[in-house]
Symmetry: C2
Subunit: 422 residues, 2 copies
């Protein structure tokens, strides 16, 4: 399944699997019913190295691969969606490679040597290291989610595994929690500001030195009042922090977000379950085929040495069953590969979605933290202005004027004493 | 005592009293021993309208006043210090008037009519309203303490009185207390700042959203740290408030100030006590003279109607005693007037001192409250700068870079799945 002519058309109807797709040639014409030439009909070799033919053309009618791989660095394994050419073209636009396709000859149908080139882990099939054509990143230089999360990871705490997709999903859920923690932090700041404002406001009402009079008294009164003005500034700051930073952080991507994530989670998980189920069927069919082939072999041997009175009829029957088992296996394999393709497509689409969500999250937070710093700047500026009137009155202080005012109010008498006489 | 030739010299030796002094003529020549012409020797009229002569020239040898006053608006009653010409000249420089002296004829020595022109209140003697030459302010347009606190004020709470000087003193003591209250206010502000700083510092250590990574994580970490930077700014503010405003307010004019004020208080109070004592002597001598004169009158009448066998000798004795009583009275009067002059001088000097202290107090407070506003300005500016690094990191945020970092750390596998085959 790894070597294909660059001009190889890919036709998909209801079945399908992962195939190679050359980006340098135009998109193939949509003709789902074109029959492949017989050379390209499928054949397969059983693990016991017996080859046999099947009568049923694969539903996919596609180029199949043999176990022996030919490296083809210029072609890229690109998933195509199940639903039609438009999406295929879209994906084509997404996954643009610049390497020219190489020229590879069709795989031989029968090869006596069996070499393991693939491995199936947790029901997902991967090429073994060094086997198969080199895979190019779908989105080179972008560190895109869709390129790095194919395998499952062993859960260090137990015997279960975590899928790559779950890692991506956890990141988004974590992001939601982190945004909540940020909101909490801002909330704590708000409380501190309110406390500060409350204390300043209370102190501004203090009667300390209220008996100071004149221009000094005015300056002092304004100084005390300025604490209240500062309190107002900080209160305003805390209110804006609440409406412009804390609250948005709390409500950004509300409850629906988690639901949407869960939908993604279930959708992908379901596809993996389906895949597991299909893989089980493949294994079961493979075993059944092996049994049937063994039975046929035994019966043929017996005929040759005339050990039993089994007739040719029996052998024909055994051969028929064997062929049916082979057909079953092919069908199961097809279904498995279709399901894997489907899962593959959904993985790409959904991981790209998560990637987008992450970019949005980061940018949104950046924007709101900038709002925080803007409010901080404003606050310091407004705070500075509360000192201005105090400065003004301090500048206007006039001890002479204060004396005049005080003397006018407190004088006891202007008439100076004179000598006493008789 | 109110009408004097502008050229009238004032001579003071060890006695003395309040006299007029013309500021427009040059300071008199210092000749304490010049004897006044006989016309200017003192004579006085007793309350009973008997006139008598005294043999003893007044110690002061000064112009005296009769009970009848002549208004002389151009002359000013100016106190002169007891201790010599230099201070007299100094006071002259202080109390500069611009009105040209008027020309007044010397008072007649004997006037049959007795008109009350003065009143003694709490042992201090004042001209009655409308009587005596108009008094000009010692320091016009300055609302100087030395011009407005001559009389005592009735204590509204009781039957005692409060001297003008005590009002001035209380002002300074009050000032000391107000400065202490200002220090207390600043102290409260310091506590508020420390609380605020403590809260910010504590919050800056919060682990909230610490798991945010990449450039977003860096910006968030710096945002949290900036709270600690703000805390440092406010702590610095509170420390400076303490050393540059609160502490000075507490220590300005330490304990010595109150002691100094008390010294002034006692000094002036002592002079008033002396004055009271001298006044009592005057009253006592006045009464003794009256008794003596009564006795003389009775004896003279008896002689005329030959009612008794009193001889001329007895009458001469009575007359002698009367004359002595008159001398006593004059002496007491002199002492009283000297003491009043002394008190007067000290009042002027000390009230000027208090006035100066008040100006200094107001200016010192102005300076330190300006320090407060300066610190406030600085604080807001430093506070602004704590946001800069946060802004910087927010600007440098890069979702693509963050993805790269995260993917590198968390990827599960780059190898994409391929179709399964047999």
């Amino acid at each position: 399944m790894t070597s294909h002519s660059p001009l190889c058309l890919f036709i998909r109807s209801s079945g399908g699997g992962l195939a190679s797709y050359s980006m340098s040639s135009p998109a193939p014409q949509p003709d789902p019913d074109r029959q492949l030439p017989s050379c390209e009909r499928r054949s397969y070799t059983s693990p016991e190295e017996l080859t046999f033919h099947t009568n049923s053309p694969s539903k996919a009618n596609r180029c199949s691969s043999s176990k022996k791989t030919r490296k083809s660095p210029e072609t890229t394994n690109v998933p195509l969606r199940n639903s039609g050419w438009c999406k295929r073209e879209r994906l084509a636009a997404m996954f643009c490679t610049t390497k020219p396709p190489g020229s590879v000859s069709p795989a031989k149908r029968q090869i006596n040597e069996v070499k393991e080139t693939k491995t199936t882990i947790n029901c997902v099939t991967f090429p073994l290291p060094g086997e198969g054509p080199e895979q190019q990143l779908l989105k080179p230089n972008e560190w895109s989610y869709c390129d790095y999360f194919w395998a499952d990871r062993k859960d260090p705490q137990g015997t279960t595994h975590v899928t790559g997709f779950e890692v991506l999903l956890q990141k988004q859920l974590k992001g939601k929690q982190l945004q909540k923690e940020m909101a909490e932090f801002i909330h704590e700041r708000i409380k501190i500001e309110e406390e500060y404002a409350k204390n300043l406001s209370k102190l501004s009402l203090s009667p300390l030195a209220a008996q100071e009079e004149g221009t000094l008294g005015e300056a002092w009164t304004q100084l005390k009042k300025s604490l209240h003005d500062e309190a107002e500034v900080h209160l305003k700051f805390s209110n804006k922090l609440h409406t412009e930073v804390e609250k948005p952080l709390l409500t950004f991507r509300g409850d629906n977000f988690k639901k949407d994530l869960k939908k993604y989670d279930h959708h992908i998980a379901d596809l993996r379950k389906q895949l597991a189920s299909r893989f089980a069927s493949v294994e079961k069919a493979r075993k059944a085929l092996a049994d049937r082939q063994k039975d046929l072999e035994v019966k043929t041997q017996q005929l040759e040495i005339k050990l039993s009175n089994k007739t040719e009829e029996d052998i024909k029957k055994a051969r028929r069953k064997s062929t049916q088992a082979g057909d079953d296996l092919m069908r199961c394999l097809d279904l498995y590969n279709q399901t894997q393709s489907k899962w593959f497509e959904e993985m790409v689409t959904t991981s790209m979605e998560l990637e987008k969500l992450e970019v949005e999250r980061v940018e949104w937070i950046q924007q709101h933290l900038r709002q925080y710093t803007t409010l901080r700047h404003e606050t310091d500026m407004f705070n500075q202005s509360t000192v201005e009137p105090v400065d003004q009155l301090l500048q206007n202080m006039d001890p002479a004027k204060d004396r005049e005012l005080w003397v006018k109010e407190n004088k006891t008498g202007e008439v100076r004493p004179v000598d006493l006489d008789i």
